[in-house]
Amino acid sequence: MFKGKFIDNLPKIYGTYTGGFLVFIILMAIAEQAGMSAKLIGIFFVAFTVLIYALIGYLSRTLQVDAYYVAGRQVPTVFNGMATAADWMSGASFVAMAGGIYFKGYGYMALLVGWTGGYVLVASLLAPYLRKFGCYTVPDFIGTRYGGNAARLCAVLVLTVASFTYVTAQINATGTIASVALDIPFGIAVYVGLASILMCSMLGGMRAVTWTQVAQYIVLIIAYLLPVFWISNKLGAGVFPHFMLADEVARIAELESQFGLGTVKNSAADLATVPKGLAGITKAHSDVNTTPWKFISLAVCMMAGTASLPHVMMRYFTTPSVKSARRSVGWSLFFIFLLYSSAPMLATLSKLSLMDPNLATGIIGKSIADVQALDWYQNWNQANLMFVSDFNGNGTLELNEFFMGGKAVVLATPEIAGLPYVISGLVAAGGMAAAMSTADGLVLAIANALSHDLYYKIIDPKAETAKRLIVARVLLVLIGFAGATIAALEIQGILGSVIWAFDFAMSGLFFPLVLGVWWKRANAQGAVAGMLLGLASGTAYLIWVRTGGAGFWGVTQLTFGIVGSLVSLVSMVVVSLMTKAPDAATQRMVDEVRVPSGKTVLGKQH
């Protein structure tokens, strides 16, 4: 069926795959009509997609170093864009983003701006130069550019702290989805999630992760867009929601004032009866509800963090050329944009369908007893994602008496809007794909840094290829298990730890990476000082604010990267200038990196 090289057949292969997935959705829809139970549909969706990923992972197995670390540097521009988008959009983006917008409005939108704007920095400051460098990992660049094991080791440290914070959140998300869809306890589901993640990455490293991520992107984008378009059309809100929901946004503002948003406050005693993790609507949907500095500081942290997170950067090591690395960043952002620009639309549709008394689905203003009798309310109340209570005793559900979990916006809206269950099964598969693909990228980033930079470059430079790849795989499994064990403890929420990961990465890596390309005078001593002091000061600030410290400049625990990166910049510049300039060979290397054509700075095999 497919003749010739795998790479040349990619459009055909993934076209067939997409077609096959659509057929699978239709088959499930038919099965639902024929009476298949909701639970069975959910299991089929998650199990079927995970098995496909595992199969791709197995078929992409490799014994070559450059295939394992950088997918042989032959991933075409557009496909690398898709893989990066899946790598990037985590369980948090998929499951929690629309919910965040729904509850927090404008204040939360800083994350959307930050998580997209960061790619401009990636494209212009870093990705093409790191591709030219020809490194396998981010610490590989730091270690070679600045020279010496100290710099390499510091980069491994920052990478591990940031990525590990991130990966526990992702394994947590796979566990949550697997436990709902497969109906097993969370403590076990976490390890089921982990097993699926490892199946995708263990045998083929970056090569396997690349081709599974493309497959995962296709599933997750269909799973996100299909319900948004469907609900919008069903409500009669617009054929193309992105350009047509202005009336709905205005209508929500009207309903907010009609239902007394912000004027009716719940007492502390009433709120104490609301289950943990659920929230009511307290912020206006489209008003500017935060100060410029709060918005901007959060956006800045997310942007600089994006440009410092190693699992994203290493995706651009896999393109065939510098030029395609640059273009690939554009494609990544385009594929991300498709989902991110849909999240606010989903939040709008979800809120309107719950609030508008003119719609059949509206529940605000109805009698509490009626709402409690609704099938979907009972389901999601049982899942601990919805709650109503008649605080004022008038028998009617008021806006301030309805509470929902953030995840419910994505997970429950299809059901509320009356879409068939097959869509909910699809959404579960999409969430699983999003969480798995990010977790894969992160686990691989950490394991590769430890195996290549710590083990091969520092501990045993004479190790043979076979041994290097065994060490890489053993580390992958160990890190996966460590992440799953911590995820099973459920220490912090998914979104909080994701934001911290950005701040950690920004504190320690942003300036050492950028100045490595753009400032020739930067030297090893400066870079080490920048990484260590940046990470240390950021962490210290976080701990200080978490333990009741007042903070300064309005920097919160979500934006501590501002403090960390400033300390990093200042210490890096000062220490660099106080110590000797880099030698002539290093300067030549930097010149070399700035020229897009020619051989990579590091050899093909190193």
Binding site: V120, S286, G330
Partner: protein, 87 residues
């Protein structure tokens, strides 16, 4: 000035232009969030600030990166630093 220095000079110029546009749409306009929201400019009927956070800034970033990549390719070509297609 050597060919390589000139190339870098131009590359740096492009970087500053790119970062300036980036700054305007990721940071600059949000100093005026409240004012823009009241504006009469309403893309697709959405309030202006709301639109920028939902689509505007995001879309501009996508276009900006492709524009940047195109300009950089031109610069590389001019100095003979383009990579071979079969690279």
């Amino acid at each position: 000035m050597s060919k390589q220095q000139q190339h870098w000079e131009k590359t740096r110029g492009l970087l500053f232009v790119t970062l300036a546009i980036w700054f305007v749409f990721s940071i600059g306009i949000f100093f005026f969030g409240a004012e823009m929201q009241e504006s009469n400019i309403r893309p697709f009927g959405y309030p202006l600030t709301y639109w920028f956070t939902c689509q505007g800034s995001l879309g501009i970033f996508v276009i900006l990166i492709f524009w940047f990549a195109g300009r950089q390719e031109k610069i590389d070509e001019e100095f003979g630093y383009s990579e071979k297609e079969d690279d």
